[in-house]
Amino acid sequence: MKTLVAVAVLAFFCVSCADSERTQAEAPPADQVLINGAGATFPYPIYSKWFNEYHRKFPQIQINYQSIGSGGGIRQVIEGPVDFGATDGPMTDEQLKQAKTKILHFPTVLGAVVPAYNVPGVTHEIDFTPEALAGIFLGKITKWNDPELKNANAEVNLPDKNIVVIHRSDGSGTTYVWVDYLSKVSPEWKSKVGVNTSVNWPVGLGGKGNEGVAGLIKQTPNSIGYVELIYAIQNKMPYGKVRNSAGTPVKADLASVTAAAAGAVETMPSDFRVSITNAAGKDAYPVSSFTWLLIPSKIQDQAKKKVLKEFLQWMLTDGQNMVEALSYARLPKEVVAMEQKAIPEIE
């Protein structure tokens, strides 16, 4: 009797085993797909929202994203432990060569970097010319009442005080965008300092992270620094206008950042590796940038490939409607159309 029961149990077990094996084999390839990505910290809030929403829509798809920094994102996508990377600064030709497969750039949202300041007694917005910003950060303009600043701000009562420059001490995409802008408007900056996620600053104090820079600005009278637009908006920090390439003083907001991207559409290369700082256009905010997803052009795993392609399509359509709630600027229509054409490049 005992053996009979045992055999029955065993038989049932075997059948159920075979059954589950069969269902697994028959399941669509998109079943239970786990995708890993890593990279930039700046777009992390919107990425985590997107991946959450996408998971809610398709419960079998799980996309994990670690915000380890753009440098880490580029490194990991080259070496291959992740399925995709993310960066705030486009990969260099040299980095692209290091990768085994071609890496594609897909712009996702736009961000901007703003000059934030703490000048006691100044309530009016300060209007910065490119020359003033480059001069301040090169250490050549040292007083708030320097003629370069005064001429552009006739109505502002600028004090006769030393300027304290504050920059990011950690390597950062924010720094990359800021110095990329400075090197476009100032040949001296380009030759003396250059562009990177961290540079050899001619002057100033370093704060760690947006919060470190913001803390130093709040704590230090007569200081100026740069932070991400989102951070300045969320923390209600005063920040100035910047004169764009058309000579118009523009205050950074979502519309002026999107305008900068629209201004760059005509010159957009097919691989999307483009800097839109100092972009053309009357309404364009000049210190703007895309942030990119880095996706290998050859993906072996069919299920992952399908999911990534579908996700990109969703991100460019429904996904874009969520970005403004989180203070990111959305992609211009033209760029969305270009990216949709580029998705089939993933093989």
Partner: protein, 326 residues
């Protein structure tokens, strides 16, 4: 210490050779083996760590050689790397931490061990141990919002008006500075100095005190001339433990030091420490050369820590020998 004694015991083990089975029957041998493995792990981890740091820094070692230690430019764009400003910042902030922290810490320990009523002493010791468990980012935040403005608005003007003729106290004060880094480190290492020194002072035999008092010494004379010298080795040990912590502290320092890789004589000027530079730049370093330079910085810090520990050992050895001779 446990490592060397186990190794020494192991070296003498083959002299009493016994059949393996019999040896294994004795719990001693098994315990011996297991603890030896544990101790050896520490040695292996240290060796592996230094090997990894050394090989990871290959690129910059080849390119810069010894000039890495004396170079004063840190330019990730032009790929020129010199570590001197970081070494300077690390040593200066740690020295400031000790200058501020040691008198405060040892003084507090003497009070708690010798003069305070037992209830007060135990209560305060408990609070001090709690302080040691506060995460360093909390200290850093506190420093940004309280210590930095305080140094800028009160301490700096005071020092400049009294000792301003010294180059140490010249130049504009922004608040974030080597002094701020040193001060926050002093606060952070205080719990280590106080709690260890207090334990050491409490461990001084009662007879020592009684003998001194019987000879007619006052209580303070007894404390200063008998108890403190007796506990000297332990107090120095606590100071070096504090120094090791100060050298490697990252988060709190990077929040208040100003992160400017330049060598300034003034303690009001911003500076940069090795640990802060690594923490700041590593995550976004993309070039191999940049990463190699940061790893080499880590190797330099590792060597400094080893050197400090070696000096500490020597100092403790000589002081205990001297006090043993008298």
């Amino acid at each position: 210490m446990p490592l060397s004694s186990t190794l020494a015991a192991n070296a003498s083990a083959p002299r009493r050779v016994r059949p393996l089975a019999r040896r294994l029957q004795r719990g001693d041998q098994i315990a011996h083996l297991i603890t030896l493995i544990f101790a050896a792990t520490i040695f292996i981890i240290t060796a592996f760590l230094s090997y990894e740091l050394y090989t990871g820094a290959l690129l910059t070692r080849q390119k810069f050689g010894w000039s890495f230690l004396s170079g004063t430019t840190w330019d990730p764009v032009a790929l020129e790397f010199g570590a001197l400003p970081f070494i300077y910042g690390t040593l200066v902030t740690s020295a400031l931490a000790l200058i501020i922290g040691v008198p405060l810490g040892v003084g507090a320990a003497i009070f708690l061990a010798e003069l305070a009523p037992l209830g007060v002493s135990d209560g305060l010791a408990f609070i001090i141990e709690l302080l040691a468990a506060v995460p360093s980012v909390i200290y850093g935040l506190l420093a940004i919002f309280t210590l930095v403005p305080f140094l800028r608005d009160y301490v700096a003007p005071l020092l400049q008006s009294t000792l301003g003729f010294l180059p140490l106290f010249q130049g504009q004060s922004y608040g974030v500075s080597l002094l701020a880094g040193g001060s926050i480190l002093a606060i952070m290492v205080l719990p280590f100095i106080i709690s260890i020194s207090r334990e050491v002072l409490l461990a001084v035999p009662r007879e020592q005190r009684e003998a001194s008092l019987a000879l007619g010494a006052t209580q303070w004379e007894t404390t200063w001339n008998v108890v403190v010298p007796y506990a000297k080795a332990g107090i120095i040990g606590s100071i070096f433990l504090a120094l090791a912590r100060a050298l490697g502290e990252t988060m709190a320092v990077t929040m208040v030091i100003g992160n400017d890789p330049r060598i300034n004589l003034s303690v009001f000027a911003p500076g940069y420490s090795i640990a802060a530079a690594i923490a700041n730049e590593f995550s976004e370093a993309t070039g191999d050369m940049h990463i190699s330079a940061l790893i080499e910085l880590g190797f330099v810090l590792f060597c400094i820590t080893i050197a400090v520990n070696a000096v500490a050992r020597l100092l403790i050895l000589t002081t205990t020998r001297k006090s043993g001779a008298t």
